[in-house]
Amino acid sequence: MSEPEQPSRKPEKIRLADHRTALMKVERRLLLRSSLSLGALSLLAGCDLQDNDKVDRVLWAMSRWNDRVQAVLFRASKLAPTYAASQITDPFPFNAFYDEFNAPDIDGADWRLEVAGLVRDKQPWTLARLRSLPQADQITRHICIEGWSAIGQWSGVPLKTFLQAIGADTSAKYVGFKCADRYYSSLDMPSALHPQTILALDFRKQPLPTSFGFPLKVRVPTKLGFKNPKHVVALYVSNDNPGGYWEDQGYNWFSGI
């Protein structure tokens, strides 16, 4: 069925010549528009958080906004899924900002964990003393920011237990970590106090191998892999965000999962 139409007079013939200028204008406008948007995109493609231009500042601001949203989404009682021993990824992948043979060789007997910042007891910790604290075990999924994931087993001292042992001010905002390989990272206090956040000493029930962070790695199954620093030599509690090796280059700081 056709819709009722006005009885039509014969329509005027449309002659191209009458409309050429208008058409050219439209064409020019469209060309301008598309070249503008292409140009804009190629400009944007250079924005990578490394130079402090306007777009980069917007991206950094959005990343800080994402920190806040993720802090709200984080639930202290929500546990990361755990797995059976048969599901452990074997071999477990090595990952760092350097090749595996460059992983620092640390003598466990000489190693100490320095403690600083808003804590009552700043005495350094030996491995033996850390092992005398209550230990926890977990088989959880390590998720890398690159997209791959692997299931591993870590055991060690719950960070909450350790923070209590050193009389840390748990109302402070951050816990920072420094590593023997120049790496550093930090956690928000709620994530630090999460029951599955541990100062891991063992991988698969054996002392951590060099490539997995001997003698101490922070295991946080509620964070992306790069928030799990290895070869930790110092821990400090602070109200100033300590940042991190990757975080300061542009990885999102909170990076909760």
Partner: protein, 204 residues
Amino acid sequence: MPNSAVLHPLAVRIAHWLNAFAIVCMLMSGWAIYNASPIFGFRFPVWATLGGWLGGAIAWHFAAMWLLMANGLFYLLYGVLSGHFRRHFLPLHVRDVLLDAVQALRLRLPHQAGSYNAVQKFLYCGVIALGVLVVLSGLSLWKPVQLEFLSNLFGGFDFARKVHFAAMAGIATFVVVHLLLVALVPKTLLPMITGLGRKSKSVT
């Protein structure tokens, strides 16, 4: 202009162009993230990626996702509440889609400004569904612990990456077809900017 009418309401035009920008950002930054650890045997060419390095790509992805989600929600709410979806996308019958698809493949399906044929209805509904899928699977990858139920719904973290990829591939295919059709029928472009166009006389 005789027969001139608003083909695309302002809300739809704004949502369309914001979405176009967000989708381009999400696709290009997503390809850069994929390249960091490919799940299939290929990488996307670097010139097609956004962000320069993984940190930059992720910053883009997690910034543009807010635009994509907010604009998508606005569009869905508008579409449902204003009756836009009901008027333009419904009714949708499999038989009509198949019939029109055959016509389209023979290049015998005329374009009618102001009303959608069954293939168009199917494609627009399909890409909206893919949009929902890509956002939900993306959220499950972003928060596999806090949104564990969502992660489980998509078969766990590793499988959710494939779901996210498949939804992306569907949307990218839609974009290619969509742009090809605009190139074939260029008069459809201006109404998406100005809103105005001539409604085709309906065919008996």
